[in-house]
Amino acid sequence: MDFSFSPEEEELLQEVRSFLKSEVTDALLVESEELGHIYGGKEGRKFIKKFAAHGWLTPNWPPEYGGLGTSATVSFAVREEMAWASVPMIFVAAHMAGPTIMHFGSQKMKDEWLLPIAKGEVEFCLGYTEPQAGSDLAALNIRAVDKGDTFLLNGQKTFNTHAHVADYHWLGTITDPEAKKYRGMSLMIVDLKSPGITIRPMVTMAGWQTNELFYDDVIVPKENLVGELNMGFFYVMHALDYERMFPLAIYNRLLSEVAEYARTTSVHGQPLSKNPLVRQKLAQMAIEVEANRHLYYRLAHMLDNGQVPNYQASMQKLFATETAQRIANTGMEVLGMFSQLKRDSKWAALAGKAERFYRTSVVETIYAGTSEIQRGIIAQRGLELPRK
């Protein structure tokens, strides 16, 4: 066993940290927060292109596709650094579509897409969920009809969060409606500027925007099909095993700021941090952060040893997102009445951060598979409990 970074890994992380420290601007932080930390905004693109020029957006990719050929451990650690710095940290192209293209795409597709993705030049929007297909992804309705050189698409997507800032749709669509469940879905890349696509904003309780998309006779070239026809469900599941991981550092940072607030805020003549209940709560959160750190780097360890994370990825996602909610809630409790105040309020504490995280942390236990779905995966795949 070894629970430390190697000196080379530590050195690279040090470079990333100092870059983040010197290059992050206020404008970037404001935009990043307004977008819910997804990639695709103007400031974000400006910043990430510079960041990615070092190979840090996809450090574990091979050099010919714009990576540095590092361990997965490094790429996991870099994502934690990005989360701590509150820069854009949710990337569909670099973290979800890219690895699938690398595994299953044709050589032509790899050559066309991987380098621009690694450089941060394009961003995708995840196109899975539909009104009737949430947790049950196989219940898709959107239909792609074979028209020779092209597909003709009609249907509707919902909760597709990057659509208003991304360039392309990473779309799951039905290509064989007669096939059995899971066997009739394909993945394709669709230019979001294509005629026939309508994007309708849906505003979340966190303040940032997600979207509903309508496909009305949209034409997609056949060369945009990812991998083989009707294999989409398999690709999506495969990608989730590789890519289901949740950096928690943005919440670790909130925790450290709440701890600092407790040290420096006096109640009844003594710092809040001397109150035993406050001490217990903050210590408990630090302990859970540490527990999550192990679940997180176990995934990297597995990838670096040629194993495919399975239920372990679900466990980390489950644990991290529930810990995130507890940190946000603990922050609210420690700040008390002041925790409710929005950023611009005269009396706001931590610039209103606690209430923002309290709102935002709700959705993280839901997207990419609800906590219930993750527990089901842990039980069925991790403990081999029977389905029927």
Binding site: M1, D2, F3, S4, F5, T73, A259, A262, R263, S273, K274, P276, V278, R279, Q280, L282, A283, Q284, A286, I287, E288, E290, A291, H294, L295, Y297, R298, A300, H301, M302, D304, Y311, Q312, M315, L318, F319, E372, Q374, R375, G376, I378, A379, Q380, G382, L383, E384, L385, P386, R387, K388
Partner: protein, 374 residues
């Protein structure tokens, strides 16, 4: 980073598992919980022959010169099988205290006997206040010429009723941490040991020191300077206890998962029910997090890195996670898990005993808070 045991540790683990599966049935565990002595010489000697008693001690003292991480591997298997007897008190508590605090002469005299399985040790630190803080140590150690005179009462001393040597923490000054450690022959005049009847059947004792004289040469380390060593030993013991809990948690998970794959209700295996699946998923999550936190702390001890915060984090988390895991096990197993004949209650009892040992979750969270500069 590497989250797996190395080849040698895997071999140790498998060998220990096979040996204990044979030598330590749950019938035996039940019997020993009722037994006055609480263990058999036969099992003790076999464990000694395997080299377990000397595992963490350097070879010059007759030990195997292995690391705390290796020790954690053995403790995990012992926890899996609820191994009764004074291994923990002898090797982890007494042994590590002597190794840390003892002079060359003391180590060379005591540890080879321990390693050979011929000397049983224990550590006496807790008293009436029931805490692991230095302030709670009131037992006096008065200097009288070439001797010390120990007077006071120690509580919850593990296996003192069978120990040959009690390492006793005594107050030798007024400042909170002016604590000294003494090597006390358990047969000395004035040592009165009474086993206490406990939830888990482990042998915790009251030990009254009624003006016990101890030669000056039996002082371990400097007068009044033992608190750092005692604190260090208790933190390592907390990690060692977590390793036992890790093994216990694994067994309870096996009980639950095995049961839900066989038990039919409403014409279905109960393992198909989502509520049962989610209980089991939560159990596995508790087990995995306990495991990694424990082994990270054990690894840091083995590597000579600062481990205090990790030790407190894993004991705080493990204490609660193990208890919750066993409680979920009870829920999943239903009525049969409540029966004396089922083995689950052995773990339910030990989960609580382990939670209390070497500082409970509140105690260690407070230590974590201190390490966060709160």
């Amino acid at each position: 980073m590497n989250y797996e045991l190395n080849e040698e540790q895997r071999i140790i683990k498998e060998a220990a598992h096979r040996f204990l599966a044979e030598a330590c049935s749950t019938d035996f565990v039940r019997e020993m919980a009722e037994d006055e002595k609480g263990f058999t010489t036969e099992l003790w000697n076999k464990m000694a022959q395997l080299g377990w008693m000397g595992l963490p001690f350097p070879e010059v003292y007759g030990g195997a010169g292995m690391s705390f991480l290796d020790l954690a591997v053995i403790l995990t298997e012992m926890g899996y099988f609820c191994v009764p007897g004074p291994f923990f008190s002898t090797v982890v508590l007494g042994g590590l205290a002597v190794l840390e605090a003892g002079s060359e002469e003391q180590k060379a005299r005591i540890l080879p006997e321990v390693a050979a399985g011929n000397r049983l040790l224990t550590l006496a630190w807790m008293e009436e206040e029931g805490t692991s803080s230095p302030e709670g140590i009131k037992l006096r150690g008065e200097r009288a010429n070439d001797q010390f005179l120990l007077s006071g009462t120690k509580l919850f001393v593990p296996d003192a009723h069978v120990a040959d040597t009690i390492i006793c923490a005594a107050r030798t000054g007024e400042a909170a941490t002016e604590i000294s450690l003494f090597e006390v022959d358990a047969n000395s005049q004035g040592v009165h040991t009474t086993p206490l009847d406990t939830l888990a059947g482990d042998k915790l004792c009251e030990v009254v020191f009624d003006g016990v004289t101890v030669p000056k040469g039996n002082l371990l380390g400097e007068t009044g300077g033992a608190w750092p060593v005692l604190n260090d030993t208790l933190l390592k013991a907390a990690v060692g206890k977590c390793a036992e809990m890790d093994g216990g948690a694994q067994r309870v998970l096996e009980f639950a998962v095995g049961y839900v794959k066989e038990r039919v209700q409403f014409d279905r295996l109960i393992g198909t029910f989502q509520a049962i699946q989610h209980h089991c998923a939560n159990m596995l999550t508790f087990a995995d997090t306990m495991h990694f936190m424990t082994y990270c702390a054990a690894w840091k001890i083995a590597e000579g890195l600062p481990f205090e915060q990790d030790a407190s984090m894993c004991k705080a988390w493990g204490s609660e996670a193990y208890h919750k895991l066993v409680a979920l096990g009870h829920q999943v197993l239903g009525g049969i898990g409540f029966m004396e004949e089922h083995d689950l209650h052995l773990y339910y009892r030990r989960a609580k005993a382990s939670e209390m040992a070497f500082g409970d979750a509140d105690f260690h969270r407070e230590r974590v808070a201190q390490s966060m500069d709160l």
